[in-house]
C-alpha cells in the first residue's frame, strides 16, 4: 500500500466508526436533516484546517489561524455586509498580509510559530476594534449559500467533499502544488533548482490566508453574525485536524482529503459525546479522552521506525 493511501486509511476509518456510533446512539441523525445538523459547522473548520495544512506543508505552524478566522468573520459581518467593496478589499489585503508574512519569515529566517503567535494578537486586536461587541450580520447571499438545500445529500456533506477535491487537485495534482510541497520536503533542493523560496513560502501563506478568509465567511454564513472571539479554538482544532488526517509536522507530508476528514472527525467526536450524556464534570475530560483514543488508533498504522 502506498504511503499516501495508508495515511488516509486511519482518518477514514475513525470517521466511519464514529459515525456508526453516532447513528447507533441517535438514529435520527441518519437523515438529510440530521446529517446537515451534524456536519454544517464542520465546513468552516474544514476550511481552517486546509489553511493550517498549507502552512504545515512548508514545515511551519500557524498559531494565529483562529484569531485570523475570527477577524475575517468580523469583517464579513460588518464591512462585507454594509459596504461590500471595502469589505472585499479588506479581505484581499488580509490575504496579502499573510503572503507578506510568509515572505518575511523566509527572508529573515524567522520561526513561524513565533511570528504567528505575535500575529494572533494583531488579528485579535483588529477583530476587537471592528466588533467591540458581538453583532453584525451575514450578507444575504452567504446565508442563502450556507443553507442551500442540495438534492439528496445535504450541503454539509457536499461542501467538505468539494473543498477536499478542489484542494487535492491544486496541491496534489498540479505542478504548483508539487513545487509548494517541495519546500516542505527539502527547501535546499528547491533553492538549488533556482526556485525563489521567498516567493514559494509567500504563496503557501497566501493560500493559507485565502482559506482562512473562506473559513471566516462560511462561518458567518452559518451563524448569521460574528464576534471577536468566535473562532479562537480553530487554531488547535485545525492543527489536530491536519495531524489526524495523516499529516506530519515536518517533511511536507500532508493530505487534503485527510485534513478535511480530520476536521469532520473532530466535529463528530464532540457530538458523539453529547449523545452519551455524561455528567457535566466529565464532559470536558471526555473530549480529551476521545481525542486520545482516535489518535491512539494511529499507532496501528504507523510503521515501526527504528527510533521512536
Amino acid at each position: 500500500m502506498s504511503g499516501d493511501r495508508l495515511r488516509l486509511a486511519l482518518p477514514v476509518l475513525s470517521l466511519v466508526v464514529l459515525l456508526g456510533a453516532v447513528f447507533y446512539l441517535q438514529p435520527r441523525a441518519m437523515s438529510y436533516f440530521g446529517l446537515n445538523l451534524l456536519f454544517n459547522l464542520a465546513i468552516p473548520v474544514a476550511l481552517a484546517t486546509i489553511s493550517q495544512m498549507m502552512i504545515i506543508m512548508v514545515n511551519d505552524i500557524d498559531l494565529s489561524i483562529g484569531t485570523f478566522v475570527s477577524f475575517c468573520a468580523c469583517v464579513t459581518a460588518t464591512f462585507v455586509h454594509d459596504t461590500p467593496v471595502i469589505g472585499y478589499m479588506i479581505l484581499a489585503a488580509a490575504i496579502l498580509a499573510y503572503a507578506l508574512l510568509g515572505a518575511l519569515i523566509q527572508l529573515r529566517g524567522l520561526p513561524a510559530i513565533v511570528v504567528t503567535l505575535g500575529m494572533s494578537f494583531v488579528w485579535g486586536g483588529l477583530a476587537v476594534l471592528i466588533l467591540p461587541s458581538p453583532g453584525g450580520a451575514s450578507p444575504e447571499w452567504l446565508k442563502t449559500l450556507m443553507s442551500l438545500k442540495t438534492p439528496l445529500v445535504p450541503i454539509a456533506v457536499v461542501a467538505p467533499l468539494v473543498i477536499a477535491l478542489a484542494v487535492h487537485f491544486l496541491i496534489k495534482r498540479s505542478w504548483v502544488g508539487v513545487i509548494l510541497q517541495g519546500v516542505g520536503g527539502n527547501d535546499r533542493a528547491m533553492e538549488r533548482a533556482g526556485w525563489s523560496l521567498v516567493r514559494l513560502r509567500a504563496s503557501a501563506y497566501g493560500l493559507a490566508g485565502l482559506f482562512g478568509v473562506l473559513a471566516g465567511m462560511s462561518l458567518v454564513g452559518l451563524t448569521t453574525a460574528a464576534d471577536a472571539n468566535i473562532a479562537l479554538r480553530y487554531t488547535l482544532l485545525s492543527i489536530a485536524g491536519v495531524i489526524l488526517g495523516g499529516g506530519e509536522f515536518v517533511g511536507g507530508r500532508i493530505s487534503p482529503f485527510g485534513a478535511v476528514i480530520g476536521a469532520l472527525t473532530l466535529t463528530l467526536a464532540a457530538s458523539f459525546l453529547s449523545f452519551l450524556r455524561l455528567s457535566p464534570d466529565w464532559q470536558i475530560g471526555a473530549q480529551g479522552a476521545i481525542l486520545i483514543l482516535v489518535l491512539a488508533v494511529r499507532l496501528v498504522f504507523i510503521r515501526k521506525g527504528a527510533v521512536a
Partner: protein, 325 residues
C-alpha cells in the same frame, strides 16, 4: 554568503558581544517599556518594578519548563501547562484547607500532581505515539475535568504563613521572584554545565543521531516533560497562594505566555538551543507591555495589536540567519 556565525569568537567590543546574545533583545524591550511606563508612573516606578518582578516570576517559572520542552525539537510543546497549574493548585489548596501545619505536605501534593501530569503527558507521547501538541492538549482536558470534579470551583484560602510568604518580599525583591530566579539559575546550570543539558540539546537537533550517539533519549524526554509539569504545578501552587486561592480558570493565560516568553527570550524554536536569561527578560517584558499600554489608556484592541507587533518586531530583530549555502 558568509555570516558572523562562522567566524570564530574573536575579541569583539563588549557591546558587540552583548548584542550578539540572543536574549539581549528581550531585556532591551523590557527596559524600553519600563522607561515608557515610568514616564507616567514617575515616583511609582519603584513599585512598578516590584510588581513586574512579582508577576514575571510566574511566567518565568512556567517558561523554564516550557523552554526545555521546546528545546527537544520541532513539534515539542506542552499545552497542558494551564491545566496542570490549576489541578495542582486546586488539589493542594483543598488538601491544606488553610491549615498552617499542612503547608509542606501541600507543596508535596502540588509537586506530586505535577509529576503525575508529566508522566501521563509523556506516556501518551511515548506509548501511544501521539504528537506532543495534541497529546498534551488532550490530557489537559482530562486534568481540567479532574480539577472541576475535585472541588467544583470553590476557592479555598491558602494557609496564612504561605500567603504571607507568597505576597511578601525582602530588600525590594519579592519572595516569589527569588524562587523564580533560583529556578532560572538551576535551569541554566543544567543546560549549560550538566550532561543532561547536552543531551536535551542533542535530542532537539537530531533525535535519531542522539539515540545513535548513546543518549538515553527516552529518559531525557521523560525528565523534560515531567519537569515542565512540575514547574507548572509549582507556579500554580505559588499563584494560588499569592492570589488567595485557586480558580478553575487561573492558568488560562499561561498557555500562550509560556510559549511567548520562550521565543521572545531568544530560544530557537526549532529546538536544540535554549536560553535561560531570555526567559526572564521576556517575562518582564510581557508584563510591562500590558502595563504600559494600560497606563497610556489604550483600549483592548490597540493593546492587543501593539503586543503582537512588538512580539514580531523583537523576533525579527533578534533573528540571525543560519547556514544558508
Amino acid at each position: 554568503m558568509t555570516n558572523n556565525a562562522s567566524e570564530p569568537m574573536t575579541a569583539a567590543t563588549p557591546v558587540r558581544a552583548l548584542l550578539s546574545k540572543p536574549w539581549i533583545w528581550a531585556f532591551l524591550a523590557a527596559a524600553i517599556t519600563f522607561g515608557a511606563t515610568s514616564l507616567i508612573a514617575g515616583s511609582g516606578a519603584g513599585s512598578l518594578f516590584y510588581a513586574a518582578l512579582t508577576f514575571a516570576s510566574f511566567s518565568a517559572i512556567v517558561g523554564i519548563g516550557q523552554m526545555l520542552v521546546i528545546t527537544l525539537g520541532p513539534g515539542n510543546v506542552d499545552l497542558s501547562i494551564p491545566a496542570s497549574m490549576t489541578l495542582a493548585a486546586t488539589l493542594a489548596l483543598k488538601f491544606m484547607d488553610s491549615e498552617t501545619a499542612m503547608i509542606l505536605p501541600g507543596l508535596l501534593v502540588a509537586i506530586g500532581v505535577g509529576i503525575g501530569c508529566g508522566v501521563i503527558n509523556f506516556g501518551l507521547i511515548l506509548l501511544l505515539r501521539i504528537p506532543p501538541i495534541i497529546a498534551t492538549l488532550s490530557a489537559s482536558f482530562l486534568y481540567q475535568s479532574l480539577a472541576i470534579w475535585s472541588n467544583r470551583g470553590l476557592r479555598i484560602k491558602p494557609p496564612e504563613p504561605l500567603a504571607e510568604f507568597a505576597t511578601g518580599g525582602a530588600l525590594g525583591i519579592p519572595n516569589i521572584a527569588v524562587v523564580g530566579i533560583l529556578l532560572a539559575i538551576l535551569a541554566w546550570v543544567v543546560l549549560e554545565r550538566a550532561i543532561a543539558g547536552r543531551w536535551i540539546s542533542a535530542i532537539g537537533q537530531n533525535l535519531r543521531a542522539a539515540r545513535l550517539s548513546g543518549v538515553p533519549v527516552n529518559a531525557v524526554r521523560f525528565g523534560v516533560y515531567v519537569n515542565s509539569a512540575v514547574c507548572a504545578a509549582l507556579a500554580g501552587f505559588l499563584l494560588a497562594s499569592f492570589s488567595g486561592g485557586a480558580n478553575l480558570n487561573m492558568g488560562t493565560e499561561y498557555m500562550l505566555m509560556s510559549i511567548a516568553v520562550v521565543v521572545i527570550g531568544g530560544s530557537s524554536i526549532g529546538g536544540g538551543n535554549s536560553n535561560v536569561p531570555g526567559i526572564w527578560g521576556a517575562a518582564l517584558f510581557m508584563f510591562l507591555i500590558v502595563s504600559m499600554l494600560n497606563s497610556y489608556g489604550l483600549g483592548a484592541g490597540i493593546r492587543l495589536i501593539l503586543t503582537g507587533v512588538v512580539i514580531v518586531g523583537v523576533v525579527a530583530l533578534a533573528s540571525r540567519k543560519g547556514y544558508d549555502v
